[in-house]
Symmetry: C2
Subunit: 324 residues, 2 copies
Amino acid sequence: MLKLKTCLALELPSINAALRQATLRLPTAVRPVAEHIFNAGGKRLRPFLVLLMARLFGYTGKDIYSLAVTLEMLHAATLIHDDVLDNADTRRGKPAVHTIFGATMSILAGDAMLSTANELVADHNDLALVRCFSQAISRTAAGEIMEIAAMRNLTQPAALYREIILGKTAWLIRSACVMGALKAGASPAQVADAATYGEELGIAFQIVDDALDVAPASVIGKPSGGDVREGKLTPPVRMYREHLAAASPAALADFDKHFSAGDLSAADAENVGAQIRLLGFDQRTRELAGECLDKARAALEKLPDGAEKRHLYTMADYVQQREK
Amino acid sequence: MLKLKTCLALELPSINAALRQATLRLPTAVRPVAEHIFNAGGKRLRPFLVLLMARLFGYTGKDIYSLAVTLEMLHAATLIHDDVLDNADTRRGKPAVHTIFGATMSILAGDAMLSTANELVADHNDLALVRCFSQAISRTAAGEIMEIAAMRNLTQPAALYREIILGKTAWLIRSACVMGALKAGASPAQVADAATYGEELGIAFQIVDDALDVAPASVIGKPSGGDVREGKLTPPVRMYREHLAAASPAALADFDKHFSAGDLSAADAENVGAQIRLLGFDQRTRELAGECLDKARAALEKLPDGAEKRHLYTMADYVQQREK
């Protein structure tokens, strides 16, 4: 049996060729923007999930590639909009789109990419696919909006965290699995299991991301504790506050003051990150991700056996173990 | 027979009620943004065109309102993105969305509105409607991008102007007519005529807008010659340059220098506007719009007779004559 990495490497040329075809459907002026972000790399996780899920249900049509890349185009559009909003300098190790093409072009290019991807989905003549895709755009935007609204807010309900990451990260991954299953003509129950797998995989992916945020700078290649400075109440930060509440209410009050005000220095954040690691909260956060992945695996168990199913199990293991 | 204005006034409550229903489909955090822009006014031209065109082809279903307002939501989303990009202070006489909700929320709200409108179209279970709508988003973004790319550029081909305004203004109006006809089950030839009517009406609408740009400030309520300062090669500006080329090559060279550099003062632009009026180029621009409206009327002539057809003729007259 091919290993997951080998399988992905074998599929990459076809995925990238379909992405080039999709780019040709964009308005001429936007193509260089799309080419820039596609050429900057990216793991193509979402297209790959569409492929795996469609094949797991026995679909062999070559048009699966043109469907798969619509989610990569949508994902790229959201990254372009995000980078304008965050005024980020780099993306995937290359200059961010807006630093080269300007904010105006980047926003409009993102809009054109969203809608062209939608047209490409409509080419598959299946309203269920169109609905799934449109909903993916709405839910992703909604997740980001909820995250912004919740920043530096210490009184937010604990359940909001899952809502936020379900939107901003997991919904696209869920949609990839659903679209692959729908394209293959899976039954409603099977589509629901594919959705659960994708949703829990996506949630776990973001939880591990939030655990990695407090890893040493030498490991992640950026300052540790970025989320703390930005005022995001991620699981390790929540655990850290619970620890302070028991250990030293004065220290908690001090932390809360700076967390809410958003005036923690880079050194403060590094220090919080180091404490979180010492207390083992990064590992406990990974355990939370592990619980989600168990649900993903349970959903997967119900799906048809085969090479794709084994790859999807491997993907769950990879999410749990990834170190950067 | 009801006059066009009376007919629109009678329809407005149903259009606004459908718009409120559509707003409820947005992510909660985005609703205040949408409510702000919908409550700020707007003529509801696009929904009204959907209604008129559907009824002209005999459609009487009440679900036409839910389809009609998708284009208003899309239109509002593009206005929100535009105002962020232009850093505009006001829209429809009220504070622009981003001055109240911030740029980040405005961009994400625009994204959510685009995709939710797309979902609402998909609810009508007709892939032709979905394709038309997605294309409307792409074409509008493409038109705006072309306009930005062409700014201050004096060597652009004359035909580019129509391409730009076809995208940035006319395509949504065209799409309103096409979607109304499609919903009513019109034949492909009839849909094509409805498309021509909408396209030419939309082109004429923008040409008249560009003629109005050089009207006296007292008439339009903003400084005259804004397009000249922004470096837009609109028909009156093009005619003015042709006049200078014949009358005084030195004056043309001077104008071109400042037009390209984008350093014309408000007083310079007012002065150019006054000269354009004196030379009658604003009227000649309106005549260009008249030619488009003749094409719109010719397409309309082929469509079924009735009250709606008369309203659509009146709408063409209104576009030609409007003074602000």
